[in-house]
Amino acid sequence: MTEIDDQTLERIIAWTDGELDDEARADFEAELERDEALREAVASYRATLDALPTLNVEAPVDFEQRVQRRIRRRSRGRFFNPEAQQQRMQAAVFAAIAALLLGGIALFSSSGPIRLLWTDEGSGEVAPGEGSGEDATGEDRTAPLDAPPADEDADTTTGDGVTPARLTDPPRPDPGTPEAGSGAATSGLETVDPMRVSWAYTVQTDMDIDALRTRLGDEFGRAVRIADGGFEVVVPAREHAETLRALGRLGEVSRERVERPAVLSERVFVVRPAP
């Protein structure tokens, strides 16, 4: 192999990377034409560069299963465990039935319509501008593998967004909301009209309506529906925090407390284009 001095090698590398200016490149290529040793050196350098990608190796065939086993072990069987998955599904079905039964009993035993005591405050999510930046703080918000994921409020609920304990909790004072029902409490449940205390989120964006439709369609697919003056994004309750973050990238998010009839397992976000 030809001996290459540092200066020549520097020029070869710069030429190979296309980093010589026009004049320097022309000079180098002219020299390349007449200097056989330089041609050999370039060929040798290129052979090295060409060969390097072939040094890639493949992971072992059972790599994926080994990763899954490791996660299963560290999470004490919570993830990548078919049995646990089946148990979770059974538990979710059981909890849903129990919630329905409880709701039914409460309806029959109360003198008026019932409000289930659920507010967004309990789900752990924070509105943009209040520290919800997913990792802007650099803080490790990830729970250990044996604990539920931080943003999966569904894991602490019956599956429909209702925390079971709340069904028997005393009502929390809500100064921001009009007292919608001052009827007598029955069985620990507030007997008010069927309105849910909740946050109404509105996103005001600079995008025009067509661009907004495309963007929301790409991001949320069938969860988007046309609403008065804009769109509504309807997502499962457990996706509340992520949806807030995603919408926060489109424009300013504002929120206000409202009482309205709503499906407990869903969250609705109103997105409006620039006027």
Binding site: V57, P60, R66, R141
Partner: protein, 193 residues
């Protein structure tokens, strides 16, 4: 990235600890992560262990992914950090590294598809050159080997490498220049020797 898993959707699903999405991620990145770690560590068993840890970390810490860079860059960064830590750890234990580099199995190497049936003499020459290349790479300083592997083996852009290593693009270029120079000189020495 497939239509099923565009990056934003994939990240959302990973944050929900969606096992199907995570399995897809492992299948997509396992070879790249393993190759990077193996080339850096030079020890197959250690590389397998570290590469698995990389994916466990991705699963655990996906909430920390800000989306400022590509997901692949973030994964490479985790892989690089894990590898550096392992190198330090093994160094403290005076572990004999790089013993597997020369023992890379023939079946492990991804060969270009252009010449599936090379002439036996050329194939032998090629294997000989690969062995020299592997040895030269293994003998490089860790910092130089890292940048060569990311750029010339993994074919990442300067910007991506800068992001992964947490240095300026200019630093990547100068480091790469020194690394390639050292590699070339090492190859020449091994060839002549």
């Amino acid at each position: 990235m497939s239509a099923e898993f565009d990056e934003a959707r994939l990240v959302r699903r990973l944050r929900r600890r969606d096992e199907h999405a995570f399995t897809w991620l492992v299948r997509t990145y396992q070879d790249r992560v393993f190759a990077l770690v193996f080339r850096m560590l030079g020890d197959r068993a250690e590389a397998e262990d570290v590469a698995q840890e990389v994916f466990v970390t991705v699963f655990k810490r996906i909430d920390q992914f800000r989306g400022d860079s590509q997901l692949s860059t973030w994964i490479y960064r985790i892989a690089t950090n894990h590898t550096r830590n392992r190198i330090k750890y093994l160094g403290r234990r005076h572990h004999k590294r790089k013993q597997d580099i020369q023992d890379t199995r023939e079946s492990d190497i991804q060969r270009p598809m252009t010449d599936p049936h090379p002439r036996p003499d050329r194939a032998a020459e090629g294997r000989q050159f690969e062995r020299i290349l592997q040895r030269a790479l293994a003998e490089l300083d860790d910092t130089w080997r890292e940048v060569i592997v990311l750029r010339d083996v993994e074919l990442l852009s300067y910007a991506e490498i800068a992001e992964i290593l947490g240095v300026a693009e200019g630093t990547v270029k100068s480091r790469l220049f020194r690394a390639r120079t050292a590699l070339q000189q090492r190859i020449e020495a091994l060839t002549d020797g």
